[in-house]
Protein backbone atom coordinates (compact mmCIF):
# COMPACT_ATOMS: atom_id res chain seq x y z
CA UNK A 1 0.00 0.00 0.00
CA UNK A 2 2.82 2.36 0.75
CA UNK A 3 4.57 2.25 -2.58
CA UNK A 4 1.27 2.97 -4.22
CA UNK A 5 0.54 5.88 -1.88
CA UNK A 6 4.06 7.26 -2.22
CA UNK A 7 3.76 7.41 -5.97
CA UNK A 8 0.36 9.03 -5.67
CA UNK A 9 1.79 11.60 -3.26
CA UNK A 10 4.53 12.44 -5.73
CA UNK A 11 1.91 12.83 -8.44
CA UNK A 12 0.08 15.23 -6.17
CA UNK A 13 2.90 17.71 -6.83
CA UNK A 14 2.17 17.68 -10.52
CA UNK A 15 1.91 15.32 -13.47
CA UNK A 16 4.78 12.98 -14.14
CA UNK A 17 5.61 9.89 -16.11
CA UNK A 18 6.60 6.40 -15.10
CA UNK A 19 10.32 6.43 -15.37
CA UNK A 20 10.69 9.73 -13.60
CA UNK A 21 8.35 8.64 -10.83
CA UNK A 22 10.76 5.87 -10.07
CA UNK A 23 13.68 8.27 -9.90
CA UNK A 24 11.70 10.57 -7.63
CA UNK A 25 10.63 7.73 -5.39
CA UNK A 26 14.16 6.48 -4.97
CA UNK A 27 15.52 9.95 -4.36
CA UNK A 28 12.88 10.70 -1.75
CA UNK A 29 13.51 7.46 0.10
CA UNK A 30 17.29 7.65 0.02
CA UNK A 31 17.57 4.85 -2.55
CA UNK A 32 16.97 2.46 0.29
CA UNK A 33 14.38 0.33 -1.38
CA UNK A 34 15.14 -0.12 -5.06
CA UNK A 35 12.00 -0.28 -7.13
CA UNK A 36 11.64 -2.35 -10.26
CA UNK A 37 10.44 -0.03 -13.02
CA UNK A 38 7.78 -2.47 -14.03
CA UNK A 39 6.09 -1.97 -10.70
CA UNK A 40 5.60 1.70 -11.49
CA UNK A 41 3.64 0.96 -14.62
CA UNK A 42 1.58 -1.68 -12.85
CA UNK A 43 0.81 0.70 -10.04
CA UNK A 44 -0.11 3.49 -12.42
CA UNK A 45 -2.53 1.20 -14.22
CA UNK A 46 -4.13 0.23 -10.94
CA UNK A 47 -4.32 3.82 -9.75
CA UNK A 48 -6.01 4.73 -13.00
CA UNK A 49 -8.40 1.82 -12.65
CA UNK A 50 -9.31 3.14 -9.20
CA UNK A 51 -9.88 6.65 -10.50
CA UNK A 52 -7.04 8.20 -8.50
CA UNK A 53 -5.00 9.24 -11.50
CA UNK A 54 -5.77 9.86 -15.16
CA UNK A 55 -3.57 9.18 -18.14
CA UNK A 56 -2.76 12.60 -19.49
CA UNK A 57 -0.90 13.94 -22.48
CA UNK A 58 2.23 12.62 -24.13
CA UNK A 59 4.96 15.21 -24.62
CA UNK A 60 7.31 15.65 -27.58
CA UNK A 61 9.71 13.09 -26.14
CA UNK A 62 7.04 10.45 -25.90
CA UNK A 63 6.72 10.66 -22.10
CA UNK A 64 3.33 9.47 -20.97
CA UNK A 65 2.16 11.82 -18.24
CA UNK A 66 -0.31 10.94 -15.52
CA UNK A 67 -2.41 13.50 -13.66
CA UNK A 68 -3.81 13.02 -10.20
CA UNK A 69 -7.57 13.32 -9.85
CA UNK A 70 -9.54 15.04 -7.10
CA UNK A 71 -10.22 11.67 -5.58
CA UNK A 72 -6.50 10.96 -5.73
CA UNK A 73 -5.64 14.21 -3.97
CA UNK A 74 -8.17 13.42 -1.28
CA UNK A 75 -6.58 10.02 -0.77
CA UNK A 76 -3.17 11.60 -0.37
CA UNK A 77 -4.42 14.07 2.20
CA UNK A 78 -6.16 11.28 4.10
CA UNK A 79 -3.02 9.16 3.99
CA UNK A 80 -0.82 11.94 5.34
CA UNK A 81 -3.35 12.89 7.98
CA UNK A 82 -3.93 9.41 9.36
CA UNK A 83 -1.31 7.41 11.25
CA UNK A 84 0.01 4.07 10.07
CA UNK A 85 -1.58 1.32 12.06
CA UNK A 86 1.44 -0.88 11.93
CA UNK A 87 0.82 -1.03 15.63
CA UNK A 88 -2.79 -2.19 15.69
CA UNK A 89 -3.09 -5.66 14.25
CA UNK A 90 -0.07 -5.29 12.01
CA UNK A 91 1.69 -8.56 11.61
CA UNK A 92 5.18 -8.64 13.02
CA UNK A 93 6.81 -11.54 11.23
CA UNK A 94 9.65 -11.90 13.68
CA UNK A 95 7.36 -11.87 16.71
CA UNK A 96 5.18 -14.44 15.03
CA UNK A 97 8.10 -16.70 14.31
CA UNK A 98 9.50 -16.47 17.82
CA UNK A 99 6.08 -17.08 19.34
CA UNK A 100 5.65 -20.16 17.21
CA UNK A 101 9.15 -21.37 18.03
CA UNK A 102 8.72 -20.75 21.75
CA UNK A 103 5.45 -22.66 22.04
CA UNK A 104 6.53 -25.53 19.84
CA UNK A 105 7.63 -28.73 21.51
CA UNK A 106 10.86 -30.06 20.11
CA UNK A 107 11.99 -26.65 18.91
CA UNK A 108 14.93 -25.02 20.61
CA UNK A 109 13.61 -21.51 20.88
CA UNK A 110 16.86 -20.29 22.38
CA UNK A 111 18.74 -21.37 19.24
CA UNK A 112 16.33 -19.40 17.13
CA UNK A 113 16.72 -16.39 19.39
CA UNK A 114 20.49 -16.72 19.30
CA UNK A 115 20.85 -16.83 15.55
CA UNK A 116 18.44 -13.96 15.17
CA UNK A 117 20.36 -11.95 17.73
CA UNK A 118 23.65 -12.55 15.96
CA UNK A 119 22.17 -11.51 12.64
CA UNK A 120 20.53 -8.44 14.12
CA UNK A 121 23.72 -7.29 15.81
CA UNK A 122 25.61 -7.83 12.60
CA UNK A 123 23.08 -5.79 10.73
CA UNK A 124 23.24 -3.08 13.36
CA UNK A 125 26.97 -2.81 12.79
CA UNK A 126 26.40 -2.46 9.06
CA UNK A 127 23.82 0.22 9.64
CA UNK A 128 26.11 2.22 11.88
CA UNK A 129 28.81 2.02 9.25
CA UNK A 130 26.26 2.99 6.60
CA UNK A 131 25.23 6.11 8.49
CA UNK A 132 28.26 7.99 7.25
CA UNK A 133 28.06 6.61 3.74
CA UNK A 134 25.20 8.83 2.67
CA UNK A 135 26.90 12.21 2.87
CA UNK A 136 27.60 12.43 -0.83
CA UNK A 137 23.99 12.82 -1.83
CA UNK A 138 21.84 15.75 -2.83
CA UNK A 139 19.51 17.45 -0.34
CA UNK A 140 16.40 15.30 -0.48
CA UNK A 141 18.25 12.07 -0.90
CA UNK A 142 20.65 12.73 1.94
CA UNK A 143 17.80 13.67 4.25
CA UNK A 144 15.74 10.63 3.30
CA UNK A 145 18.76 8.39 3.66
CA UNK A 146 19.48 9.55 7.16
CA UNK A 147 15.82 9.31 8.21
CA UNK A 148 15.52 5.80 6.93
CA UNK A 149 18.83 4.55 8.28
CA UNK A 150 17.98 5.99 11.68
CA UNK A 151 14.60 4.25 11.56
CA UNK A 152 16.34 0.98 10.85
CA UNK A 153 18.83 1.49 13.65
CA UNK A 154 16.12 2.29 16.17
CA UNK A 155 14.15 -0.73 15.05
CA UNK A 156 17.01 -3.18 15.15
CA UNK A 157 18.08 -1.91 18.55
CA UNK A 158 14.57 -2.54 19.84
CA UNK A 159 14.70 -5.94 18.18
CA UNK A 160 17.86 -6.91 20.02
CA UNK A 161 16.49 -5.64 23.30
CA UNK A 162 13.36 -7.67 22.80
CA UNK A 163 15.32 -10.78 21.88
CA UNK A 164 17.36 -10.49 25.07
CA UNK A 165 14.25 -9.85 27.09
CA UNK A 166 12.56 -12.87 25.55
CA UNK A 167 15.51 -15.12 26.16
CA UNK A 168 15.48 -14.17 29.83
CA UNK A 169 11.74 -14.72 30.02
CA UNK A 170 12.02 -18.18 28.49
CA UNK A 171 14.86 -19.07 30.82
CA UNK A 172 12.74 -18.09 33.82
CA UNK A 173 9.82 -20.13 32.60
CA UNK A 174 12.06 -23.13 32.13
CA UNK A 175 13.20 -22.82 35.74
CA UNK A 176 9.62 -22.61 36.98
CA UNK A 177 9.09 -25.83 35.14
CA UNK A 178 6.11 -24.65 33.21
CA UNK A 179 5.62 -27.30 30.60
CA UNK A 180 3.87 -25.42 27.90
CA UNK A 181 3.25 -28.24 25.56
CA UNK A 182 2.23 -31.37 27.34
CA UNK A 183 -0.97 -31.29 25.44
CA UNK A 184 -2.06 -29.85 22.11
CA UNK A 185 -5.50 -28.33 21.74
CA UNK A 186 -7.76 -31.32 21.76
CA UNK A 187 -9.96 -32.14 18.80
CA UNK A 188 -13.24 -33.92 19.43
CA UNK A 189 -11.53 -37.24 19.67
CA UNK A 190 -8.29 -38.92 18.80
CA UNK A 191 -5.33 -36.80 17.90
CA UNK A 192 -2.49 -37.90 15.68
CA UNK A 193 0.73 -39.25 17.09
CA UNK A 194 3.46 -36.68 17.50
CA UNK A 195 6.31 -36.99 15.12
CA UNK A 196 9.80 -36.29 16.43
CA UNK A 197 11.51 -33.25 14.99
CA UNK A 198 14.49 -34.09 12.79
Amino acid sequence: MSVRMSLLTILDQGPSYGYRLRTEFERRTGSTWPLNVGQIYNTLERLERDGLVARGSTDEHGHVFYDITDAGSAEVRAWLRSPMERSQGARDELAMKIAIAATMPGVEASDVLQSQRTASLHHLQELRRATYAGADRDGAEELAWSLVVDAMIFQVEAEVRWLDHTEQLLAERAVHDIEVDREVTKPKRGRPAKVPVG
Copy 2:
Protein backbone atom coordinates in the same frame (compact mmCIF):
# COMPACT_ATOMS: atom_id res chain seq x y z
CA MET B 1 5.46 -15.91 4.11
CA SER B 2 5.26 -16.23 7.86
CA VAL B 3 1.71 -17.50 8.16
CA ARG B 4 2.57 -20.14 5.63
CA MET B 5 5.72 -21.14 7.47
CA SER B 6 4.00 -21.11 10.85
CA LEU B 7 1.37 -23.52 9.62
CA LEU B 8 4.04 -25.71 8.10
CA THR B 9 5.94 -25.68 11.39
CA ILE B 10 2.82 -26.79 13.23
CA LEU B 11 2.36 -29.58 10.71
CA ASP B 12 5.94 -30.64 11.41
CA GLN B 13 4.70 -31.88 14.81
CA GLY B 14 2.33 -34.27 13.15
CA PRO B 15 -0.58 -34.36 10.72
CA SER B 16 -3.49 -32.05 11.33
CA TYR B 17 -6.51 -30.65 9.55
CA GLY B 18 -7.47 -27.15 8.52
CA TYR B 19 -9.75 -26.03 11.27
CA ARG B 20 -7.49 -27.27 14.00
CA LEU B 21 -4.45 -25.68 12.40
CA ARG B 22 -6.18 -22.38 12.79
CA THR B 23 -6.85 -23.02 16.47
CA GLU B 24 -3.24 -24.06 16.98
CA PHE B 25 -1.92 -21.05 15.15
CA GLU B 26 -4.00 -18.66 17.20
CA ARG B 27 -3.12 -20.36 20.45
CA ARG B 28 0.58 -20.30 19.67
CA THR B 29 0.51 -16.62 18.77
CA GLY B 30 -1.59 -15.51 21.72
CA SER B 31 -4.64 -14.87 19.53
CA THR B 32 -2.96 -11.67 18.48
CA TRP B 33 -3.52 -11.99 14.78
CA PRO B 34 -6.89 -13.55 14.04
CA LEU B 35 -6.74 -15.74 10.97
CA ASN B 36 -9.61 -16.16 8.57
CA VAL B 37 -10.24 -19.90 8.22
CA GLY B 38 -10.35 -19.64 4.49
CA GLN B 39 -6.72 -18.64 4.47
CA ILE B 40 -5.79 -21.94 6.04
CA TYR B 41 -7.30 -23.92 3.22
CA ASN B 42 -5.73 -21.67 0.63
CA THR B 43 -2.36 -22.04 2.26
CA LEU B 44 -2.71 -25.80 2.53
CA GLU B 45 -3.51 -26.01 -1.18
CA ARG B 46 -0.46 -23.93 -2.00
CA LEU B 47 1.76 -25.92 0.33
CA GLU B 48 0.55 -29.08 -1.36
CA ARG B 49 1.16 -27.58 -4.78
CA ASP B 50 4.73 -26.84 -3.69
CA GLY B 51 5.27 -30.35 -2.41
CA LEU B 52 5.72 -29.35 1.22
CA VAL B 53 2.66 -31.17 2.49
CA ALA B 54 0.53 -34.03 1.23
CA ARG B 55 -3.18 -34.52 1.62
CA GLY B 56 -3.49 -37.52 3.86
CA SER B 57 -6.31 -39.60 5.21
CA THR B 58 -9.75 -38.52 6.33
CA ASP B 59 -10.76 -39.75 9.77
CA GLU B 60 -14.13 -40.99 10.95
CA HIS B 61 -15.29 -37.44 11.65
CA GLY B 62 -14.49 -36.27 8.14
CA HIS B 63 -11.39 -34.34 9.14
CA VAL B 64 -9.04 -33.98 6.20
CA PHE B 65 -5.53 -34.52 7.50
CA TYR B 66 -2.40 -33.13 5.90
CA ASP B 67 1.05 -34.63 6.34
CA ILE B 68 4.29 -32.73 6.00
CA THR B 69 6.74 -34.08 3.44
CA ASP B 70 10.50 -34.40 3.77
CA ALA B 71 10.89 -31.28 1.69
CA GLY B 72 8.47 -29.57 4.05
CA SER B 73 10.43 -30.62 7.12
CA ALA B 74 13.61 -29.35 5.52
CA GLU B 75 11.94 -25.99 4.87
CA VAL B 76 10.89 -25.74 8.49
CA ARG B 77 14.38 -26.46 9.73
CA ALA B 78 15.82 -23.91 7.32
CA TRP B 79 13.27 -21.33 8.44
CA LEU B 80 14.03 -21.81 12.11
CA ARG B 81 17.76 -21.82 11.53
CA SER B 82 17.93 -18.67 9.41
CA PRO B 83 17.20 -15.20 10.77
CA MET B 84 14.42 -13.01 9.45
CA GLU B 85 15.87 -10.36 7.22
CA ARG B 86 13.30 -7.77 8.12
CA SER B 87 16.35 -5.68 8.60
CA GLN B 88 17.99 -6.13 5.21
CA GLY B 89 15.91 -4.49 2.53
CA ALA B 90 12.67 -5.03 4.39
CA ARG B 91 10.25 -2.25 3.66
CA ASP B 92 9.36 -0.18 6.66
CA GLU B 93 6.09 1.44 5.66
CA LEU B 94 6.23 4.12 8.31
CA ALA B 95 9.80 5.11 7.46
CA MET B 96 8.87 5.25 3.81
CA LYS B 97 5.91 7.46 4.49
CA ILE B 98 7.86 9.87 6.69
CA ALA B 99 10.70 10.02 4.19
CA ILE B 100 8.25 10.88 1.43
CA ALA B 101 6.50 13.44 3.61
CA ALA B 102 9.77 15.02 4.72
CA THR B 103 11.14 15.48 1.22
CA MET B 104 7.87 16.65 -0.29
CA PRO B 105 7.40 20.36 -0.83
CA GLY B 106 4.05 21.59 0.38
CA VAL B 107 3.73 18.80 2.90
CA GLU B 108 3.96 19.62 6.58
CA ALA B 109 6.11 16.74 7.73
CA SER B 110 5.86 17.88 11.33
CA ASP B 111 2.08 17.45 11.21
CA VAL B 112 2.50 13.93 9.93
CA LEU B 113 5.04 13.21 12.65
CA GLN B 114 2.76 14.69 15.28
CA SER B 115 -0.31 12.68 14.40
CA GLN B 116 1.75 9.52 14.17
CA ARG B 117 3.30 10.23 17.53
CA THR B 118 -0.07 10.77 19.15
CA ALA B 119 -1.39 7.56 17.70
CA SER B 120 1.70 5.60 18.71
CA LEU B 121 1.60 6.88 22.28
CA HIS B 122 -2.06 6.03 22.47
CA HIS B 123 -1.35 2.56 21.24
CA LEU B 124 1.48 2.20 23.69
CA GLN B 125 -0.94 2.96 26.51
CA GLU B 126 -3.30 0.31 25.24
CA LEU B 127 -0.49 -2.19 25.04
CA ARG B 128 0.62 -1.55 28.59
CA ARG B 129 -2.93 -2.02 29.76
CA ALA B 130 -3.19 -5.17 27.65
CA THR B 131 -0.11 -6.69 29.24
CA TYR B 132 -2.05 -7.77 32.29
CA ALA B 133 -5.09 -8.87 30.35
CA GLY B 134 -3.57 -12.12 29.19
CA ALA B 135 -3.17 -13.90 32.49
CA ASP B 136 -6.30 -16.02 32.13
CA ARG B 137 -4.92 -18.10 29.31
CA ASP B 138 -3.45 -21.55 29.12
CA GLY B 139 0.30 -22.13 29.05
CA ALA B 140 1.19 -21.72 25.40
CA GLU B 141 -1.27 -18.96 24.77
CA GLU B 142 -0.23 -16.95 27.79
CA LEU B 143 3.43 -17.26 26.86
CA ALA B 144 2.80 -16.32 23.24
CA TRP B 145 0.62 -13.43 24.30
CA SER B 146 3.26 -11.97 26.55
CA LEU B 147 6.02 -12.42 23.95
CA VAL B 148 4.02 -10.71 21.27
CA VAL B 149 2.75 -7.88 23.43
CA ASP B 150 6.29 -7.22 24.61
CA ALA B 151 7.49 -7.19 21.02
CA MET B 152 4.86 -4.62 20.17
CA ILE B 153 5.75 -2.48 23.15
CA PHE B 154 9.45 -2.51 22.30
CA GLN B 155 8.66 -1.66 18.72
CA VAL B 156 6.27 1.18 19.46
CA GLU B 157 8.68 2.62 21.98
CA ALA B 158 11.38 2.64 19.33
CA GLU B 159 8.88 4.16 16.93
CA VAL B 160 8.17 7.05 19.28
CA ARG B 161 11.85 7.59 19.93
CA TRP B 162 12.51 7.70 16.21
CA LEU B 163 9.64 10.09 15.61
CA ASP B 164 11.03 12.46 18.23
CA HIS B 165 14.51 12.12 16.84
CA THR B 166 13.24 12.83 13.34
CA GLU B 167 11.27 15.87 14.42
CA GLN B 168 14.39 17.29 15.99
CA LEU B 169 16.42 16.53 12.92
CA LEU B 170 13.91 18.24 10.66
CA ALA B 171 13.79 21.25 12.93
CA GLU B 172 17.58 21.55 12.78
CA ARG B 173 17.57 21.31 9.02
CA ALA B 174 14.91 24.01 8.81
CA VAL B 175 17.13 26.29 10.86
CA HIS B 176 20.10 25.58 8.63
CA ASP B 177 17.89 26.67 5.79
CA ILE B 178 18.50 23.64 3.65
CA GLU B 179 15.94 23.91 0.92
CA VAL B 180 15.51 20.36 -0.08
CA ASP B 181 13.12 20.82 -2.90
CA ARG B 182 14.05 23.74 -5.07
CA GLU B 183 14.50 21.41 -7.95
CA VAL B 184 13.07 18.06 -8.93
CA THR B 185 15.26 15.50 -10.61
CA LYS B 186 15.64 16.79 -14.11
CA PRO B 187 14.50 14.80 -17.11
CA LYS B 188 16.43 15.19 -20.33
CA ARG B 189 14.62 18.35 -21.27
CA GLY B 190 11.51 20.27 -20.36
CA ARG B 191 9.75 19.30 -17.22
CA PRO B 192 6.09 19.98 -16.54
CA ALA B 193 4.99 23.00 -14.60
CA LYS B 194 4.42 22.36 -10.94
CA VAL B 195 0.84 22.36 -9.90
CA PRO B 196 -0.02 24.01 -6.60
CA VAL B 197 -0.96 21.62 -3.84
CA GLY B 198 -4.64 21.69 -2.94
